[in-house]
Amino acid sequence: MTETPHESAARADGGSERVDSTEHAARTPEAAQPYRELGLADDEYERIRGILGRRPTEAELAMYSVMWSEHCSYKSSKVHLKYFGEATTEQMRSKMIAGIGENAGVVDVGDGWAVTFKVESHNHPSYVEPHQGAATGVGGIVRDIMAMGARPVAVADPLRFGPAEATDTARVLPGVVEGIGGYGNCLGLPNIGGEVVFDESYASNPLVNAMCVGVLKSDEVQLAHASGTGNKVILFGARTGLDGIGGVSVLASETFSGDETGSGRKKLPSVQVGDPFTEKVLIECCLELYRSGLVVGVQDLGGAGLSCATSELASAGDGGMWIDLDEVPLRAEGMNPAEILSSESQERMCAIVRPTDVEGFMEVCRKWDVTATVIGEVTDGENLRIDWRGERVVDVPPRTVADEGPVYERPLQRPAEQDLITADNPDTLARPSTAEELRETLLRMAASPNLCSRDWVTSQYDHYVRGNTVLAQPSDGGVLRIDEESGRGIAVATDCNARYTRLDPYGGAQLALAEAYRNVAVTGSKPVAVTNCLNFGSAEDPAVMWQFQQAVRGLADASAELGIPVTGGNVSFYNQTGSSPILPTPVVGVLGVIDDVTRRIPTGIGAAPGESLLLLGDTREEFGGSEWAGVTHGHLGGTPPAVDLAREKLLGDILAVGSRDGLVSAAHDLSEGGLAQALVEMSLIGETGARIVLPEEADPFVWLFSESAGRAVVSVPRGEELRFTELCSARGLPCAKIGVVDTESQSLEIQGVGDIPLSELRSTWEGTLPALFG
């Protein structure tokens, strides 16, 4: 009998199926396989055949195809990401316990404590099903943090949406916020920061990035490796179902014909539904397992499910691994090996456990009512071998799946239009000049979707749970206490102004880092490490690849100059609508440390009457990519503000001293919207008025709305002003008194602009999102 493609792809049905075993595959070399539909290129498929010396089985094909996908293999980004490592000096590495390559970076933060943090994207699922897409995004990043041995202690959510007024944004945004809140709140993780940005380019491609921060003792780091022959592989958490199988379901179609008309289970949903309760229990269960020393290695199940977990554990280990797929607890009937291996069902983890500890492991799982099953063991062979119904369906060198995937040096090209964009600078745009015009501009900007209050979003997130949140939204950075005895704490902030990155991907990425650094610094914390989530368009678009390469270089160079390492990150390509890519959006997260959280600096003014407001840094005429140009002229062109990392560092140092010595009672960095926006926020957050005086030589418009980097406004107690200004001048940081806090007045009074009652400012700033989203 000759094999037809249809027969060779036969699926499990009603028990009368034939298994596509390795033996069967060896006997049927010519069977056609739908590798292209699974996203593999011709030469990639040939390489797999070369590695195995035969055609892959269906299960192997499923494994290679997901593991060699862009998302899992970083095949287009690898050659560029290397640069992060090259830019990291030994000095920067000294506090790094785990870095790029692990599930998440781990940083020593002193007193025996370590912190792990990471951002991941869940962009596409969140467009299809905003609530569940966003929820499972949070779930996934939390498991990454758990896999490092840490207790997750906080989340943050950098978000990007299409225009605020668009009907589709009214569908996507509320669902995303509900999903993030629903999942994070139910896990008991305070949400301590994030971003909400609107731009046309995200209209059919919102960005839902989720960050998680975890804390552990520095000697408690868990690693994802399978070592010790005879050790058991235990899958625990939720059962494995048919959701999140997406593309692999083409393998399930008996009548697969290479087009979209096949029947069977072809249209399995690629979206998963999250179960935060199961994840919460899984967190507690994992922590108890770690505490009891019952785990040799551990890995979360995320993208690519068991394929990823088993191959990565085995690849990082010192032997092989054998898995019996019949042992995997399933939620659906009739799942075939490819489906079981590819399922992205949520809330699952995989552990390597010594045989003598299996009973203890199960005991802890029973206590938490967590399903746990021994599905295989570590072997002394080389290969990852997987059996199903007594037949071998996978027999592969795990490294070829997990680590030795294809690597591409994609063509990159600075697009010619880049020069046109640079030339189109904002100098000729009409500017406000009279007091009325300035006042109107200030209010219009405060109400604009990108600058208005985020309270509609953040009030849906619990930021109190666990009782250690010292600062959260709307302050620049979130600050958490990690040790109740010593008061030691950490700070995090995420930032990216993608308008800047569009104008100059190198400088824009540096500005993103500079802003996140500054946001951590204004809380009084010392920045110590960087993570990122690099959201870009198609990797096959040379202009996009150029943006990507520039952004990576910019970020790596800047972190070297600031002396803080990039400890990890995430890449998301193919964010585009048709052939239009999103604005290049390298979201940067910075982690900081504060020795004593009682010294944290809040954003709002009003601690004491009569305090001085000082502007730190230099204000230049810089409007390229500014919010002012965007809001009032719909303009994006020119060059972004200049980068001065030495200045950022100096500013950070001064703020740290200010916090330590009690010289600063409030601080806010200047970013989008410039000084005007910062003053609006400091007054409203502190529920206190202020009187601002323009420097004599200043152009009021430039002074109020320019977005020069490296600046902050601080409020300084009366008795400390001299000490503080002397500190600044000794260190060479420009520092100018711009006004006073007025605890009596309920208005923001700006010379040359007028007197704006806080009530008016408040309704302007707070009204926008509720009016749009209900």
Partner: protein
């Protein structure tokens, strides 16, 4: 005026944590013999007579349910 019921249920292959929670809790309360529970939503609409079935289907498909993860059914009932 007609009364219309729209049932929205999680798709069979999609995880249904709500239904699962109920199923797990029943035996603990002494109720045996219930092997599976799925939980969905039920909408009751008061609908003007000129609203046709096609419109109702569109409301269910595009608004009350997300067909990526949910199935729906519309029926007119006596009110």
């Amino acid at each position: 005026m007609a009364r219309v019921v729209v049932d929205v249920m999680p798709k069979q292959e999609i995880l249904d944590p709500q239904g699962q929670a109920v199923a797990n809790a029943l035996p603990r309360q002494g109720f045996e013999g219930i092997s599976q529970v799925r939980q969905g939503k039920r909408f009751e609409l008061e609908v003007a007579d000129d609203v046709d079935d096609e419109t109702l289907a569109k409301i269910a498909e595009s608004f009350l349910a997300n067909p990526v993860i949910e199935d729906w059914a519309v029926r007119r009932v006596e009110s």
